[in-house]
Symmetry: C2
Subunit: 281 residues, 2 copies
C-alpha cells in the first residue's frame, strides 16, 4: 500500500495502473475510518483489481462555524485500518495541493441541493461536488463507492455523474450501524457517553416510521410527528429537520408514494448527526 500526498506522483501511479488494464475501485473519505468506510473499501477491493481511497478533510464543504478544524484526524490509525482491507493506495493531499492560491472552479448541482442538509448547510454540497469531481479526475476510477448514510450526498453525486457524463459506475451501499442502531459516523466520537446512549433514538424513530408505513399509514405529517416524539424522548436532542421526500427529486411529499426518503438531522449538544431510510410504498 502506497500513501501519496502529491498530485504529480498520484498521476504517475494511476497511469501505471491504467496501463496494466487494471480496474480501479475508489472510496473518497475524510478519514477517521470506521466500519462503514471499511465495508465500502472491502466491497471496492472485491469488485476491482486495484482499490484506492482518499483521505481529505475538505474545507470547501464546511461552513463558517462548522467543525472543519475539530474534525477528527488520525492518519496512522487510518493507515493501519486501510491496510487490513487490502487497500492499494491512500491519496492524502494537503489543502494547498487541492486548492492552490487562486483556485476558482466550482461544480454545482442545482435543485437537489436546496432542501434537507443543503438548506441548513449553504455551500456544503458545492464543496462536495467540487472536491469529488477533482478526486474522480485524479483517481480515474471505474467504480466509486458511497454510503447510504449520507443519502442526499449520494443522490447529488449520482446526479452530477450522470449530468456531466462521468464514465464510472456509482455504487451506494447500505448504512453500517452500531449494535443499538446508531449509524456509524466519524462524528459519533464527539458525543458524551450520555448523548451516545440517547442517539439510538434516531434509528429507533426511523424503524417506527417504516413500521407505520408498512401497516398502511400514508400521511407524512402523522409519520413525522411519531418520529419527532420518539426523538424528543432524548433529553439532549435538538431536531434540525425531519423530512420525507421523493427520491426522484428530493421534494417534500404530503403523502407517501413511490420511493420515499425519510431523512433527519438532529443535534446532540454541538454534534450534528444525520440518518435516513428509504421506503418503497
Amino acid at each position: 500500500m502506497e500513501i501519496i500526498k502529491d498530485i504529480a506522483r498520484l498521476r504517475e501511479r494511476i497511469r501505471e495502473v491504467k496501463k496494466k488494464g487494471l480496474s480501479i475501485g475508489f472510496v473518497p473519505t475524510m478519514g477517521y475510518l470506521h466500519e462503514g468506510h471499511l465495508s465500502l473499501m472491502k466491497t471496492a477491493k472485491k469488485e476491482n483489481d486495484f482499490m484506492a481511497i482518499s483521505i481529505f478533510v475538505n474545507p470547501l464543504q464546511f461552513g463558517a462555524g462548522e467543525d472543519f478544524e475539530e474534525y477528527p484526524r488520525d492518519l496512522a490509525r487510518d493507515e493501519m485500518l486501510a491496510r487490513s482491507t487490502g487497500c492499494d493506495l491512500i491519496f492524502s493531499p494537503s489543502v494547498k495541493e487541492m486548492y492552490p492560491t487562486g483556485y476558482g472552479t466550482f461544480v454545482e448541482v442545482k435543485k437537489l441541493t436546496e432542501g434537507l442538509c443543503g438548506a441548513s448547510r449553504p455551500g456544503h454540497f458545492l464543496g462536495v461536488t467540487t472536491v469529488v469531481t477533482k478526486l474522480f479526475n485524479l483517481l480515474r476510477p471505474d467504480r466509486v463507492y458511497f454510503g447510504q448514510k449520507d443519502a442526499q450526498q449520494a443522490f447529488v453525486l449520482k446526479k452530477m455523474v450522470n449530468d456531466l457524463n462521468m464514465d464510472l459506475e456509482f455504487i451506494v451501499l447500505p448504512t453500517f450501524r452500531e449494535d443499538d442502531g446508531l449509524a456509524m459516523s466519524s462524528r459519533n466520537k464527539y458525543l458524551t457517553p450520555e448523548q451516545r446512549k440517547e442517539a439510538a433514538v434516531l434509528y429507533k424513530s426511523l424503524k417506527q416510521a417504516r413500521k407505520l408505513a408498512v401497516e398502511g399509514e400514508r400521511n407524512v405529517e402523522v409519520i413525522k410527528k411519531v418520529i419527532s416524539d420518539i426523538i424528543s424522548e432524548a433529553g439532549h436532542a435538538q431536531i434540525e429537520y425531519i423530512e420525507i421526500v421523493d427520491t426522484q427529486n428530493l421534494r417534500s411529499l404530503h403523502m407517501l408514494k413511490g420511493e420515499c426518503l425519510i431523512a433527519l438531522a438532529v443535534k446532540f449538544g454541538q454534534t450534528r448527526l444525520i440518518d435516513n431510510i428509504i421506503l418503497e410504498v
Copy 2:
C-alpha cells in the same frame, strides 16, 4: 470517419479506441467549420493517433436575445470538410441528448469570467465550461485544441482544466485570419458585403496597438484611444469593449506590463465580432 449522435454509441467507440492504446486529439466546435477549425483539426490529427471533433451548438452558452436559433448550421458541408482533414469521428448530439429533461449540473470558473465577454454575456462562460466538461468526459481526449481567437474562453477553460485536475493537455493555436486580417469566425457569414469589408479595421487596430507598444508606448488609455479611432473609421462599427488586461488574471491594466491581452468586441449591425492579440512587454 464515423458520425455519432448518441452517447451510448460514443462511449462504446471511445472504449475501443482507448483499449487499443491510441491517443485521442479532440477539437470541440459549434460546426460551420472554417479554416480556423481545420487548422486545429489538422494539428490534432498530426499529434494524435485518433482525431475527433464535436459539432454542437450549445444552447447553454447563448443568452436571451442572442443568436442561438440563427447560428449557422450545415452538417453535410462540415462532414465533407472534416473528412478532408483525416477526422476519425464526429460527435454531433441533439440538445436533448446533452441536456435531458431535469438536467441540473453546472461547472463555473469564477473571476476570470467576470470581465471582457463575460461582462456583456452573463452566463456565457458557465455554458461553455459545463458543455466542455461533458465533452471531455465523453471523448476522454489526451489533447484538446482551441483557437486563440476566443482568448478569454481559452484562459477560462485552461483554468478549469487545471483547477479540476482534468488529465489532458490543453493546446491553444494562433488565430486564423482572412487575407485582410479579419479573424475567421462562423459569424462572419452574417456580415453584409459592406460590413465584411469594414470589419478589417479590427485587426488593423490591433496591429497598430502592437506597433505603438513596440515603439515604447505603455499607457493603456493612449493605446485604447488609437484602437477606438481606427475602428470608428468603419461606419457600421459599434464598439462593445476594448480592454487591455493582464493574462494572469484578466484584470484591467493601467500600464502595459508583462504579458498583456488586448481584446475587443465590436458589433457590425447585429453581428458581434471579437478579436485579440497578446503582447509581451
